[in-house]
């Protein structure tokens, strides 16, 4: 019902390209003919065509890998042949086997599936034209946002539809567990990487060389997810740098003239995994990927998942990112095939670039009106003293929530015969699903919200004081939101600009003043950040009460703690139950030095929390806020 509300204003701001629905044609013409259509994509101009097997040979014979093989064989006392064998095995396990026939199979079946699941799949054709140009000129890296397993199938499907070069995709090893499907994914271009291989030099060398060779030769666009894993909260995850580092390396070392990075924003009205995510965040373990699981999940085919918007962003040239930022001559003095740890300069460059790219993804997301409604609902829900009444209003307004919950076998609003904890968790599932809608729009409000909270807690109107507060909050939440490192001043100015523009603030040299009509906006914005503030506060509180615990114990223990306080009504926001928020809070506290991980064993202590109290008192505006208010709530 809600998505019938005309949403064009939110969907397509004028600066963006128009969307075309690719399912429309599928509904009107033969899927089989589509799957068997003539496919002749534009390729990289410098391409030397090669087969999958030749690609593997190139990797195994590369100087880079050769060096590491010699090193490893010396360290382990093995012959180089043995190590080469190991490398070949790793490569075998990893490598994709892109086949047009499999792609055609997927094109056919996915057409059927997509038509059932989705009302429309909208893509910006201008973006695809830009992509085609980019593929012709330079090696291309595709960087889609990651909200669902659908993402990479969807990407390949779209590229096939538009006769563009099919990508090779870095996928997690967990897919390989799905026997037939794993192999099919492999044949549609996926290559599999282990989730963690920290110390394994050989694995790293094979992996990075494999990616680089495919990229440099223009074999195919390389696709991976900057966020590393699916975001369970629909809020962008802080980017992982490993793969980005690898794909930038050929440019930094002069092996290619340039590389185009193409951020792709995939916005789902509903992800297939929606409720799974919420449960996962609440501590129900995620089901292992398996083929039978996939079959069980086929009931989702009877659901309506609305539409998908896929926006191919402006290609970003690595060369222009690096311009006057990176001194490439730092690679002049060591042979380029010897693996070296990237310098601080490079790391911070890659990090900043990653943030810029995730921001670019966020900016081109398409929001549905109910995403905004979710804000209101959540805040309303939290503001009510008695949770019951809040939920009743809730259900009235959002019929769709019930359908959603039913799908997961939860009886959302029946209160009888369940314990208060169960009831709370059931409620929380709904809330977190709702949160994941709201979160999609969070990036739009985050900077103004930080400013609003800073103003709210500041003791005076002095601009400097408010800036200090802003900076503190921004720093605090930099694990939670995509806030480009070192851009505090720009963010502050942006937030000021936006609030002044909407008439909420007046700002002069010294002071920041709230206008008459600004109160409402500011109240809204302050409450945008409230659940997060409260979440972080409660994590602090929890850590103060605990002595020492291992990292593994942390989530269950903090969850228990929070449930206790929610039930006694001392905490307002049910969404603080989200383990994502709890982990981010912990990471932030570690980063800020308030909590310390002790090396040698898995565990941490918060011995230094008191010091952090002291440091906080250096922020006059904020000292009263985090702790006094925690106390007040508890």
């Amino acid at each position: 019902t809600l998505n019938k509300i005309s949403s064009s204003k939110f969907d397509t701001p004028s600066k963006r390209d128009d969307f075309e629905d690719i399912l429309e044609e599928r509904r009107n013409s033969s899927d089989l003919r589509y799957a068997l259509k003539c496919y002749t994509p534009v390729l990289y101009k410098g391409l030397t065509p090669c087969k999958v097997s030749e690609l593997k040979q190139m990797v195994l014979q590369s100087d880079q890998l050769g060096y590491v093989i010699t090193q490893v064989s010396k360290e382990k006392g093995m012959t180089t042949d043995e190590v080469t064998g190991d490398a070949a095995a790793i490569l075998e396990e990893m490598a994709q086997r892109l086949q047009l026939s499999t792609v055609r199979f997927f094109a056919f079946t996915l057409s059927k599936v997509f038509k059932t699941l989705f009302r429309s799949i909208c893509v910006n054709e201008e973006g695809l034209q830009r992509l085609q140009q980019a593929i012709h000129n330079h090696p291309v890296v595709l960087l889609p946002s990651h909200r669902s397993y659908m993402d990479f199938l969807l990407m390949s499907y779209i590229l096939y539809t538009y006769d563009l070069a099919l990508p090779v995709i870095a996928a997690g090893m967990d897919f390989m567990g799905m026997k037939v499907v794993g192999e099919m994914l492999r044949m549609s271009g996926a290559f599999f990487i282990r989730r963690s291989f920290g110390g394994d030099k050989l694995y790293w060398a094979v992996f990075s060389e494999y990616v680089k060779i495919m990229l440099k030769n223009g074999y195919a666009p390389v696709e991976f997810f900057l966020e590393g894993t699916r975001s369970r909260t629909a809020k962008s995850l802080t980017p992982k740098l490993g793969l980005l580092n690898i794909v930038m390396d050929p440019f930094l070392k002069g092996e290619v003239f340039d590389i185009s990075l193409v951020p792709v924003s995939i916005s789902y009205e509903r992800t297939l995994e929606e409720a799974l995510y919420a449960r996962e965040l609440l501590g129900v373990p995620k089901p292992k990927e398996s083929t039978s699981g996939l079959f069980k999940a086929r009931k989702i085919l009877s659901e309506d998942y609305g539409s998908i918007h896929v926006y191919f962003g402006q290609p970003v040239s690595v060369r222009s990112l690096a311009e006057s930022r990176v001194n490439r001559s730092q690679f002049n003095l060591i042979p380029r095939h010897i693996p070296t740890r990237p310098s601080e300069e490079i790391l911070s460059f890659v990090n900043d670039s990653a943030y810029r790219l995730v921001r670019a993804q966020e900016e081109n997301m398409v929001l549905k009106p109910w995403v905004l409604l979710a804000f209101v609902l959540l805040q309303k829900q939290a503001a009510e003293d008695k949770q019951g009444t809040a939920l009743d209003e809730f259900t009235e307004q959002a019929v769709w929530l019930r359908d959603l919950s039913r799908h997961y076998g939860l009886s959302v609003l029946t209160r009888s015969a369940i314990t208060p904890e169960e009831e709370l968790l059931n409620q929380a599932v709904v809330i977190l699903s709702c949160v994941s809608y709201r979160n999609q729009a969070l990036n739009v409000f985050i900077r103004p919200a930080l400013l609003a909270s800073a103003i709210h807690t500041a003791a005076s109107n002095r601009k400097q004081e408010i800036y200090n507060g802003f900076s503190f909050l921004r720093n605090m939440f930099s694990n939670e939101f995509i806030l480009c490192p070192g851009a505090t001043v720009q963010d502050f100015e942006e937030a000021c600009y936006l609030l002044v523009k909407t008439g909420a603030l007046q700002i002069n040299q010294q002071e920041v003043l709230i206008t008459e009509r600004g109160h409402r906006t500011l109240a809204f914005l302050t409450s945008v950040l409230d659940p997060f503030l409260q979440g972080y506060q409660v994590v602090c509180r929890f850590l103060c009460e605990e002595d020492c615990l291992t990292e593994k114990q942390f989530i269950p223990a903090v969850r228990k703690f929070i449930i206790k306080h929610l039930l006694t009504g001392r905490l307002r926001y049910i969404e603080v139950l989200s383990s994502d928020l709890q982990k981010n809070a912990l990471a932030a506290l570690i980063r800020l030095g308030a909590v310390q991980k002790i090396k040698g064993y898995v565990g941490f202590t918060h011995l230094r929390v008191p010091c952090w109290f002291d440091r906080l008192s250096g922020y006059p505006t904020l000292t009263p806020m985090p702790f006094k208010s925690v106390v007040a709530h508890l």
């Binding site: 002069g254 092996e255 003239f257 001194n327 001559s329 690679f331 002049n332 380029r336």
Partner: protein, 660 residues
């Protein structure tokens, strides 16, 4: 260069060659069986080969050039009296372009390109393909001309700032000098694009206030003493072929600037056949040095592309490199002894030992000092008997990557010929466009056949193939053996032998290419070449990236036509290679083409440095590349050079402000 025909024997191809050229390697190959002890004969051969490149007018200019050094009448001058460079350069050379006044490219009334004069092989010939190449490569058009100012307007030259006391004492020494406007303008520039462009527009900036022509070492000593005494700025001037803004007068210089022209110090003072060395005055230009040594049956083998005009002193001052360095070495390998006059006195070593362990080699303070420390006056150089036999050659590769791999292998096996150069596809096409009109149907038929063989039968893509040119020197036996070895290596990389004449024309073009820029400038096309040296594993990457950077920068800077962006590998070393980039574009529609040109060249140099290339292989730093010196040699390195300068020349008498 496109006509390639491996099936032909060298005899037949040299016959074709002799149809095309007045002098050719055919002479060398025909006479190769003769008695090698006949030195005079070989000298004749050798002369004819060199004359092939450099043929100078028979009448000569010896009348004007009587070289005399009153102070050194007793010194033995073993060489004859004919010299190329007169005191008044304007008598034979262009004032606003490259080389001899009588030699230039132009479009005749029929719209065909021709090269005038009599000095070069190409002289007097029609080059039918050039016009189309220029039109298609640059979008140039014969209707759109940008003619140069025809004559030097002396009134545009600012009057000289003369130091009267210096002048008075200088007069008393009897050393010739002049403050004539033409003389001064001639010595105010090298051959950078911006320098020539300004001259063509009749724009003249700061020029030297006085030109002096010392005749010998002692004259230089006197001049330097007077300059120190009267605080006059001295700028040594050799052949004037600098491409690093080294000869530009620093605009901030307020003292009187005296250009010290070494061109009249041009004698070979002695030849030592026991040690195979020659003691030569540093002002001698390359072609004279070779010609005079050849008369005695020797050569230095140092042949930079500028050897017609560049001087020995200039080579030393810039660390020059010659095309045949694989046999003879670069200037630092050739020099045995240097005498230089500095404000602190004369620096020279006490003996001529072939190698010394006496601390850092002071020669290395001198070589590459670019005129900032003093004037090189006399040099003892290694000489070699002239080679018995010379043979050109060429190889066509399917693509540039294969070509580079072949050169790398040749370097690995240390069997590089006297010269080996690899041109990329664009240069290959350019060379093709410069083929003179074929003189018979038979030749054009052969050309067609060769082209067919390479592209159709062998399957080479005409838009990817590239060519290496070769020059072998030495005993006939060894040359042939060597040749086989190199061709065998080339074959492993898909290379096909493509005949002697292709190779020879490649080297000939080296000498005329500088003239070609003047033609381009008549039709809105500006360009230049620049070089670097780079480790082997970086060669392909640097070539690709720098060429692409040039194209991108041109586009970004609003150049309306696609530029010519091309490169060649011109020297091989154990650990790397020297790479030359050529870059030119049509500047119609740009308001400040020189500025655009400079921005693009600057970006290209940044790209070179980012890709592991050096700041310069042999052109030097001058003022053009100064800004990158610190990052190139580190702050400590700069301090070392600075402290040498501070000691040797505390008052900055040699104030050209190059290098540091």
């Amino acid at each position: 260069m496109c006509h390639t025909f491996p099936a032909l024997t060298s005899d037949r191809s040299s016959r074709i060659c002799s149809l095309l050229y007045k002098h050719g390697s055919s002479m060398a190959s025909n006479s190769s069986g003769s008695d090698s002890s006949d030195r005079q004969r070989i000298a004749q051969q050798r002369l004819s080969v060199i004359a092939g490149h450099l043929q100078r007018p028979v009448e000569g200019n010896s009348g004007i050039l009587a070289a005399e050094c009153k102070a050194q009448g007793d010194k033995l001058d073993v060489s004859s009296e004919r010299r190329t460079v007169p005191r008044r350069r304007q008598e034979i050379m262009k004032w606003n372009g490259w080389g001899y006044s009588d030699s230039k490219f132009l479009y005749n009334k029929k719209g065909q390109a021709e090269f005038t004069g009599k000095r070069y092989r190409l002289s007097g010939m029609i080059i039918p393909g050039l016009r189309e190449w220029m039109e298609s490569t640059f979008g140039a058009n014969l209707q759109h001309k940008t003619p140069a100012a025809p004559i030097l307007n002396s009134s545009a030259v600012q009057p000289p700032t003369l130091n009267e006391a210096f002048l008075k004492e200088l007069k008393s020494t009897g050393i010739p000098f002049s403050h004539d406007a033409e003389d001064r303008v001639f010595r105010s520039h090298g051959h950078c694009l911006h320098e020539i462009f300004a001259l063509r527009e009749g724009k003249i900036g700061r020029v030297p206030d006085l030109v002096v022509w010392p005749n010998c070492h002692n004259d230089v000593v006197k001049i330097v003493e007077l300059a120190c005494k009267h605080n006059v700025c001295l700028m040594p001037y050799g052949g004037g072929t600098s491409v690093s803004s080294a000869l530009e007068c620093p605009p901030e210089e307020t003292r009187s600037i005296v250009s010290l022209d070494t061109s009249q110090m041009n004698r070979i003072l002695w030849i030592d056949e026991k040690n195979l060395t020659a003691h030569v005055e540093a002002g001698i230009v390359g072609q004279d040095l070779e010609r005079l040594l050849n008369e005695s049956g020797y050569c230095t083998g140092h042949e930079p592309d500028s050897m017609e005009f560049s001087s020995l002193g200039g080579w030393v001052a810039t660390r020059a490199s010659g095309m045949k360095k694989n046999i003879y070495g670069n200037i630092e390998d050739l020099v045995v002894h240097i005498k230089m006059v500095t404000p602190q006195g004369v620096i020279e070593k006490s003996c001529q030992g072939p190698r010394m362990s006496t601390g850092p080699d002071v020669h290395h303070f001198i070589m590459g000092s670019e005129g900032t420390l003093g004037v090189v006056t006399e040099v003892t150089m290694k000489i070699r008997p002239m080679p018995e036999y010379q043979k050109y050659g060429s190889v066509v590769f399917p693509n540039f990557e294969m070509g580079v791999a072949c050169l790398r292998e040749v370097a690995r096996q240390r069997c590089a010929p006297a010269s080996i150069r690899l041109m990329d596809n664009e240069q290959f096409k350019f060379g093709h466009a410069l083929k003179p009109q074929v003189s018979s149907i038979f030749t054009s038929f052969l050309d067609g056949l060769k082209k067919f063989y390479i592209t159709k039968f062998k399957g080479f893509d005409p838009n990817r193939l590239c060519v290496a040119t070769l020059l072998f020197e030495g005993d006939r036996e060894k040359v042939l053996q060597h040749e086989k070895q190199v061709y065998d290596i080339a074959a492993k990389f898909g290379g096909l032998a493509a005949g002697e004449d292709n190779g020879q024309r490649g080297y000939m073009l080296t000498f005329v290419i500088a003239y070609l820029r003047d033609l381009g400038m008549d039709y809105y096309v500006i360009g230049e070449s620049f070089e670097t040296s780079v480790p082997w594993d970086r060669v392909l990457d640097i070539c690709r990236n720098v060429k692409a950077r040039i194209v991108r920068e041109c586009k970004d800077k609003g150049v309306q036509f696609p530029p010519l962006s091309t490169c060649r590998v011109t020297q091989t070393y154990d650990a790397g290679a020297c790479v030359y980039f050529y870059f030119a574009f049509n500047y119609r529609g740009l308001s400040d083409p020189v500025h655009v040109y400079e921005q693009v060249e600057h970006a290209a140099r940044e790209e070179i440095l980012a890709n592991g290339g050096s700041l310069s292989h042999h052109h030097g730093v001058g003022k053009l590349r100064k800004e990158w010196m610190r990052e190139t040699i580190s702050s400590v390195g700069m301090g070392m050079l600075r402290s040498v300068k501070d000691y040797v020349d505390p008052n900055n008498i040699f104030g050209n402000r190059n290098l540091l």
